[in-house]
């Protein structure tokens, strides 16, 4: 029995092919994982299944209904949780539940669902005042109301800390019956083991469907197989690092954070953050969304004034002399923050200008950058129209254009597919060997392995600092994720 049947489905947005002639069946009573990077077509596929979007070609049958003609009948028997938090932030937890119970026409007995989600204590709190993990739980609670036959969950675990991630999947497993079908999308390959069946999407196509064990029983093997299915990846020497020249320095600790504090009213966004990074080191700040990574980051590069403490870059105090400190710094922001209405070349030219590359050398440097980043075919395209991976590459190029000795990268790989991430880390590793000091944030636990040292961040505080191996050994864990969970549990973690 299939809950969803799809035949030759195609969906285009303008010139972009989002779903490329897909056929698939989703079995009833199973948890199916939809795995893929940003822009691989996960969200579009889910929206097509419930009739929020209409297909260009092909057929969909959802619970034996046609989502094109019977949208209201389809939505009456499913639970859909969109990727973006869909609850009303100015209503309380209880009021949101009340609303969704009425919309679904089910009873207002929330005791079970509140206990399940640990939200009982917070039922009178405004949804906007909940932490990231709790928001996801509230969204899930509203979706689960009325025990729908089919649950469609769009990246419920993105940006959530590892403990909450485990709780979310457990919550879903505990609250469904054996007849419930779940479709769960994620960008993390390592979540595959949670599902009965995995569907892996790449550029609008299915590259694998079946149980994850068939591909490999460890995360490592699974990942390698997926890369193979995506067309393979060969490690090459980094062109970017090859001719990279940095200013010599005799400062031992190139980046220093000295007791950084950021307070908003009575709330500590960052508390006593202290670390020192050696020249050529890759230092990772790891933690869930809202832990204070980005705030620390902004203080480190002088975009936000610390309430207390300071940071030094190449020995220059960022509070006293921000312009000079920043001149040694390349910064890549979390979101694509280049000018979408400028072409690739114009963006590069602009950043060459603001980073103060002398006019006479500019032309030469631009040619170099275009060559090593392979921008030849893209240079006259508007940046906003670039594919995601190229956008990421352009952001990096702009951050590196003045050959800074220090690189700050704020979640540079979020949304990028596994091959893109591998490629990215090859460059970073090669640059660090050249002596570039790198500070990077991420919420991919597996990326911690690429760092020389990491600082685990939770609720605005550093909960542990050290090399990945040291941290793993300290709590006897195999993976970074397990390490984080154990450290948090040891520190009486969990939320409030």
């Amino acid at each position: 029995m299939n809950a969803v049947e799809i035949k030759n489905l195609t969906k285009n947005f303008g010139n972009i092919i989002a779903i490329d002639n897909i056929s698939l069946n989703i079995k009833k009573g199973q948890i199916t994982g939809l795995i893929g990077a940003d822009a691989s077509g996960k969200t579009t596929l889910m929206r097509l299944i419930i009739g929020l979007l209409l297909s260009d070609k092909g057929e969909i049958s959802t619970l034996e209904l046609n989502p094109r003609a019977q949208k209201e009948a389809v939505t009456a028997c499913i639970g859909y949780m969109p990727q973006k938090f869909g609850m009303y932030e100015d209503l309380t937890v209880k009021e949101n539940l009340d609303l969704y119970a009425d919309l679904k026409g089910v009873s207002h007995d929330f005791e079970k669902v509140l206990t399940f989600t640990n939200l009982t204590k917070f039922q009178n709190r405004l949804a906007g005042k909940l932490s990231g993990g709790m928001k996801q739980k509230l969204g899930l609670a509203c979706t689960l109301l009325g025990s729908p036959e089919l649950l469609i969950l769009d990246e419920p675990s993105v940006g959530v800390d590892p403990i909450s991630r485990r709780e979310l999947i457990k919550l879903v497993k505990d609250s469904i019956t054996e007849n419930t079908t779940v479709l769960w999308s994620t960008a993390y390959l390592d979540e595959a083991q949670n599902f009965d069946e995995a569907i892996i999407l790449d550029k609008g196509k299915i590259i694998y469907q079946g149980p994850h064990q068939k591909l490999g029983d460890t995360n490592q093997k699974f990942e390698e197989k997926v890369i193979e299915l995506m067309g393979g990846y060969k490690e090459k020497e980094s062109e970017i690092a090859k001719d990279y020249n940095i200013k010599n320095t005799d400062v031992e600790f190139v980046v220093e954070a000295d007791d950084l504090v950021k307070k908003y009213g009575e709330f500590y966004a960052v508390k006593n953050n202290t670390f020192k990074i050696r020249r050529g080191e890759i230092f990772g700040l790891l933690g869930p969304n809202g832990a204070g990574k980005s705030t620390s980051f902004k203080m480190m590069c002088g975009l936000s004034t610390p309430t207390n403490g300071t940071a030094r870059i190449m020995g220059v105090d960022i509070k006293k002399n921000p312009t000079k400190a920043r001149s040694n710094l390349g910064y890549m922001a979390q979101k694509f923050s280049l000018y979408g209405d400028l072409t690739v070349l114009e963006n590069l030219r602009f950043f060459a200008g603001v980073y103060g590359i002398p006019i006479l050398k500019r032309k030469k440097r631009l040619d170099e950058i275009i060559k090593i980043f392979n921008f030849e075919e893209y240079q006259d395209i508007m940046s906003k129209e670039l594919p995601l991976g190229i956008k990421q590459r352009l952001s990096m190029a702009c951050a590196l254009i003045h050959e800074p000795a220090v690189l700050f990268l704020d979640e540079p790989t979020s949304g990028v597919d596994i091959i893109g991430r591998k490629e990215f880390w090859t460059h970073i590793n090669a640059l660090s060997k050249k002596g570039v000091t790198v500070l990077v944030t991420t919420h991919f636990m597996d990326e911690a392995e690429y760092c020389d040292r990491i600082s685990l961040f939770y609720n605005g505080e550093t909960v542990a600092i050290g090399t990945p191996d040291e941290l793993k050994k300290s709590v006897n864990a195999n993976s970074m994720e397990e390490t984080f969970i154990k450290i948090l549990e040891k520190n009486q973690g969990g939320e409030e």
């Binding site: 929020l52 094109r68 939505t75 949780m81 009303y88 100015d90 609303l99």
Partner: protein, 374 residues
């Protein structure tokens, strides 16, 4: 359509309205400020002009004329001895104009000849200049009819008696304040509703809603109803302020006032929702609602500028916008009481617009993330 769903959506919207201080500000504080502004700041009545007088004729009758200038309620007169000083004061804008009576003024009158006087106005203030031009003539004629020269005055062929109906004191507040309801109801009905659907799209709550069994009508009525109630409350507040606080005379019927206002409110909500559904973006929606809501209510409704003196194009434009019908109605309802024809015609127009707008909103609302399908 499902009543339970609609009532849940209305309840949700009500909670949001109560929690959002900006809604209260737009519905109650802004109208209060506007009424205060219209009451004390804006005045379309004829202003008092200050005139310089230079009298070269010193007969006793002429001193009576000076008296007449002094006692006029339209003129503040100042007698000058020195002509140059007077000219200086005109150029310094201390006075709006001047009247010079030559020394042969009474002599000519006595002979039964035409006596002339010189009126100087400051042409850089066109409006005031018109008053400066006409007041002295009226005052002088008035004085003449009561002076000893009146024997030379021919009795006028037509005697005109003027009576200002509906607004005997020609007090512009009596129609501007009620007229401002058109602006207030537009703010509540149009601006607020334009923001709310766009906000649901921006915040992602709309996608969540559309993932449940809500239908098109549920979504639409879930917005119409709460903002209609809010608009009526705001109207009540406005009417109370106008009639009981600012003491604007009201000659009409409250039932008719509220019924027609309700219709107008529906057109405003319709436009707001239409904007919101089309643009799905709060910034664009607020700009658009200023453009098609607030400004026409102020400029193209006949509230500030008479419609029949507008260029033809704009006269046609006013016909497809609701404020014109409402302003005509509300001004007459306040000042003249219920006039069957006016109420009827404007009700018909407003009803047609309200229905057309509802249909447009229904057609444009989609229960998907893109248009099309059933």
């Amino acid at each position: 359509m499902n009543l339970k769903i609609i009532s849940a959506l209305v309840k949700k919207e009500a909670l949001q309205i109560l929690r959002d201080p900006s809604t209260t500000i737009i519905a109650f504080v802004l109208p209060l400020m506007m009424l205060l502004l219209f009451m004390y700041g804006l005045n379309l009545d004829t202003p008092k002009v200050s005139l310089g007088l230079k009298i070269d004729d010193d007969t006793p009758q002429i001193s009576n004329l000076i008296q007449s200038f002094n006692s006029s309620k339209y003129v503040r007169a100042k007698v000058y001895e020195d002509k140059d000083l007077m000219y200086k004061d005109i150029s310094a804008s201390k006075i709006n104009g001047a009247v010079i009576i030559p020394n042969d003024f009474s002599k000519n009158l006595e002979k039964g000849d035409t006596a002339s006087m010189l009126i100087i106005t400051d042409g850089s203030y066109v409006n005031t200049a018109n008053y400066v031009q006409s007041y002295p003539v009226a005052i002088a004629n008035n004085w003449l009819s009561q002076s000893s020269y009146k024997t030379y005055l021919k009795p006028p062929v037509i005697s005109a008696n003027t009576r200002m109906w509906y607004n005997q004191d020609i007090n512009s507040h009596y129609f501007i304040l009620p007229g401002s309801f058109a602006i207030t109801l537009n703010l509540v009905g149009l601006l607020l509703t334009a923001l709310v659907i766009a906000r649901e799209w921006e915040r992602g709550t709309m996608e969540s809603l559309l993932g449940t069994r809500v239908g098109k009508l549920d979504i639409i009525l879930g917005k119409y109803i709460p903002y209609f109630i809010l608009g009526i409350l705001s109207l009540l507040f406005n009417v109370f302020l106008c009639i009981f606080v600012f003491k604007i005379p009201f000659h009409g019927s409250f039932v008719i006032l509220f019924s027609v206002s309700a219709l107008f409110l529906l057109t405003a909500i319709g436009i707001g929702l239409l904007i919101s559904t089309i643009f799905k973006n709060q910034f664009l929606a607020s700009q658009m609602s200023l453009g098609v809501g607030f400004l026409p209510a102020l400029l193209l409704s006949g509230l500030m500028f008479p419609i029949n003196s507008m260029p033809m194009f704009f006269q046609f434009l006013t016909m497809i916008l609701p404020p014109r019908y409402y302003v005509t109605f509300i001004e007459s309802e306040f000042m003249a009481g219920t006039i069957k024809n006016i109420v009827l015609i404007n009700t018909i127009y407003l009803s047609i617009l309200a229905i057309l707008l509802f249909i447009a909103v229904y057609e444009k609302t989609s229960i998907r993330l893109e248009e099309g399908g059933k």
